[in-house]
């Protein structure tokens, strides 16, 4: 399985995701945003960070960079795309995922471990998880408050496009277990074809018991053919 990680000025989770991918036996390559040719990849990852210092809007400038045109072409051809944190924000700015990520409701940068529930476990990204499995993931963001229009929200629910929802340790999805104000506690979503996943939590930080836990491992093992 070949993967590419796109690197922007201000990306800061690019090496974490590279370590995770290599640990999971992906053949990974780093791709600078000014490149115009994308190496042949089964998976493209847009990593977390603060691309372009979050100027204008988080992900807005990165979403118009040279390599993104190639990412959009690859996505339309069915390539798997994973956007984590700032990567999720970038995917919404490119239009590959609908909706947007607003400033956290409490106006604070939130860096903590939270619980999320696996909502759809039948995709290329989630087939090794159980349905409704509760995972412990780290979040670290200022703009993670997922927002979209009613039409898209209905589509997300009707087409089973919600990947993860914030919950408490018992799995309850409510206002108390919603860290940032996201609509319906949404932490991650798919596009209609389910080859693109955008998520605010960081699975790449959850791949080793020594530093956290291993709840992120199954996301990567799901991707391995």
């Amino acid at each position: 399985m070949k993967s590419s990680v796109i690197v922007f000025p201000g990306s800061n989770c690019d090496r974490d995701i590279a370590v995770a991918l290599e640990k999971m036996k992906f053949k990974n390559q780093m791709v600078w945003h000014k490149e115009t040719i994308l190496p042949k990849s089964d998976l493209i990852v847009i990593p977390g960070g603060f691309s372009y210092g979050d100027y204008l809007r988080s992900g807005a400038i990165a979403g118009k960079s040279l390599i993104i045109e190639e990412v959009i072409k690859a996505a339309k051809a069915g390539c798997l795309i994973l956007g984590i944190c700032n990567g999720f924000q970038i995917l919404t700015e490119t239009g590959l995922l609908k909706g947007t990520l607003l400033r956290n409701k409490n106006l604070k940068f939130i860096n903590k471990d939270v619980h999320v529930k696996v909502i759809n476990n039948k995709t290329s990204f989630s087939n090794k998880y159980k349905k409704d499995q509760i995972l412990n993931f780290n979040i670290a963001h200022n703009e993670g408050n997922f927002f979209t229009n009613t039409e898209h929200l209905n589509e997300l629910n009707n087409e089973d496009l919600i990947a993860f929802k914030y919950c408490n340790d018992q799995g309850a999805i409510n206002e108390e277990s919603n860290p940032n104000g996201s609509l319906e506690n949404i932490a991650g979503i798919y596009n209609l074809k389910k080859n693109i996943l955008g998520m605010m939590p960081h699975p790449e930080r959850m791949i080793d018991q020594l530093i956290s836990n291993t709840d992120g491992v199954n996301l990567f093992s799901s991707l391995l053919k």
Partner: protein
């Protein structure tokens, strides 16, 4: 030709920054304050003599990059 662009959050989008500014002004004694919504402002100088063409170009800039149409509205004014 110069234009200004004002970008504001749509009516039903939560504006926590505006809310905090509003609360602070109320704390400062501005009791008649009804509400505050915070936005963005751009000034654009464009190399184009034809006003309708220029206006069209600026509109395209808004749609392509400056505005997130899901959550924001914008107004263009000729300066």
């Amino acid at each position: 030709m110069k234009f200004s662009i004002t970008v504001t959050l749509k009516k039903d989008v939560l504006d926590p920054q505006g809310k905090v500014v509003e609360n602070t002004l109320v704390n400062l004694g501005m009791n008649n304050l009804k509400s505050i919504r915070q936005g963005k402002y751009f000034e654009i100088d464009i190399n184009e003599q034809d006003e309708s063409k220029a206006q069209k170009n600026v509109d395209e800039m808004c749609k392509k990059l400056l505005v997130n149409l899901i959550i924001e509205d914008y107004k263009i004014n000729k300066l």
